[in-house]
Amino acid sequence: MDQFKHLINILARPYIMFPAMIAAFFFVFPPTEGLMKINRRLGLYKLWTNKGGVAIFSFMIASFAFGLTDENFRLIVTKPDNVPIVGLIFLVVFFLWLAMKQGWDNDARQAKGLKPNEAEDAKENILVWPDLVYIELIALVIVSALLIFWAVSLHAPLEQPANPTVSPNPSKAPWYFLGLQEMLVYFDPWIAGVLFPTVIMLGFMAIPFIDNNRKGLGYYTFNERKMAISIFLFLWLILWIFLIVTGTFLRGPNWNFFGPFEYWDIHKLEALTNINLSEMIYMIFLQKQMPSNILLREIWGILLVVGYFTLTPLILAKTLFKDIFKSLGPLRYSVFIILLLLATSLPIKMFLRWIFNIKYIIAIPEFFLNI
């Protein structure tokens, strides 16, 4: 049993878990026809059937129940402020399943030349009183009851009085910002804390203007909007929800990583000494002294970053995103690709860190400018 838990602890490490998640993601939510075929062949779509739902939830509940037998797992999961996140996991998975199930059902109907379920329903009009009003009332009652049960059974946390001189270890932001705090491991605060949130907000606002696919309005579908849904879910599930879960449950003292069954040992040490790209180039490859001129020193990183945001879009437009480029047009495409590249810069930076131990691609601490 211990061996098994140990294995899970190892598997949960970001540099194993995260690539695995990404890899699996694109098979489960295939953005392209090619991947879709693989998905079909593997039968992954079966997840979005009733049986699949039962399987998913049985698995989740079973693992959770198993986890609760472990002291360390129990300790962190039942922390009052973490309970909503446990709820969040189950809710997200449930609604993901619900949406995908309806989507695949509708896709199957459309494959047969039928209209989606919603379209069938929409033919008929229903008076709002009492059907909808009553349903809503019932929902309110359920939520009220839930809140009261929750409030009675779980005390809101109140720790020691505020002490500005003693910081708890770890100090965590509120859970809904833990994604940003997790990004802080890989980016400087001005990127993780300011640039990314702003871009996320603006990017979300831009979605209706980028997505010019007229299909899929008002009904669940996957096939008709594979690319859009896949990208959205990647951002939302992997880069937001998953990072929050990691930040809440798997980050312990000194922001070190701890497996779900691992004791939060405050003494745990990790090799966190990383190297800047410029140091790597000059000191390790060229065995030379670092140039004193900042621009000269960081030119490689600057070229890389500029290249990433200029050359990659061009290359992608010619290759992978050829169709998209065609349908979006240059302006929409540029906005889309810049946003996408910004989003993917996070996993890219993560991989650079894990594989090459890179700290900053551009490191100009003199101006607080590190990328």
């Binding site: 003693v166 000194n254 405050i266 040490l269 000494t273 601490p365």
Partner: protein, 179 residues
């Protein structure tokens, strides 16, 4: 339903009055709306300025630590240890201020003059007088505070800003005074 009337009025306003001079129209409305934009800007500025009070009631984070000449070369001064949690150290070229917080678990180390090191009583971490850790569990060197000379030549230590060696911040000119 209001759609047609709207477009109508737009068209008519400019054309329908023969005596109206398009130029005057533009001039006045430009002035008006420019002024209005300035007013809105002014309101914004008001709110912005309002957010920065002229006095603060925060506890002092700066303290005056006497003249540089009051410290001997090679001395680790414990004068401000109890009151401000700071050691002031003078070596051949500079004076710097070390925080008395062990980087391991936040205990307060002791200065051992005979062995010329800081020794943390909690878990035995040891630091040189530079603040560099060399023994025990401490993961990184002690932190330095911002230090500078006031107008009258006195040393001022500002605890709001810290410099960490592992981030390469000890070369920052604010992290020491050269003497």
């Amino acid at each position: 339903m209001s759609q047609p009337t709207q477009t109508d009025s737009k068209n008519t306003s400019a054309e329908n009055s023969p005596m109206m001079n398009r130029r005057t129209f533009l001039k006045w409305s430009t002035i008006g709306w420019a002024a209005f934009a300035a007013v809105v800007g002014g309101y914004g500025t008001m709110v912005l300025r309002y957010l920065f009070p002229n006095v603060l009631f925060e506890p002092k984070q700066e303290f005056r630590a006497g003249l540089p000449t009051e410290y001997q070369i090679g001395e680790v001064s414990e004068r401000w240890k109890d009151a401000f949690g700071t050691w002031i150290i003078r070596d051949q070229e500079k004076i710097y201020a070390l925080a008395t917080i062990c980087t391991h678990l936040g205990c307060t180390p002791n200065w051992m003059p005979n062995e010329a090191k800081f020794k943390c009583p909690c878990h035995g971490s040891g630091f040189y007088s530079t603040g560099i850790n060399f023994e025990g569990p401490a993961p990184r060197p002690l932190e330095r505070y911002r230090i500078f000379l006031a107008d009258d030549g006195e040393i001022v230590v500002d605890k709001t800003k810290k410099f960490q060696q592992e981030k390469g911040e000890w070369s920052d000119p604010e992290s020491f005074i050269s003497v």
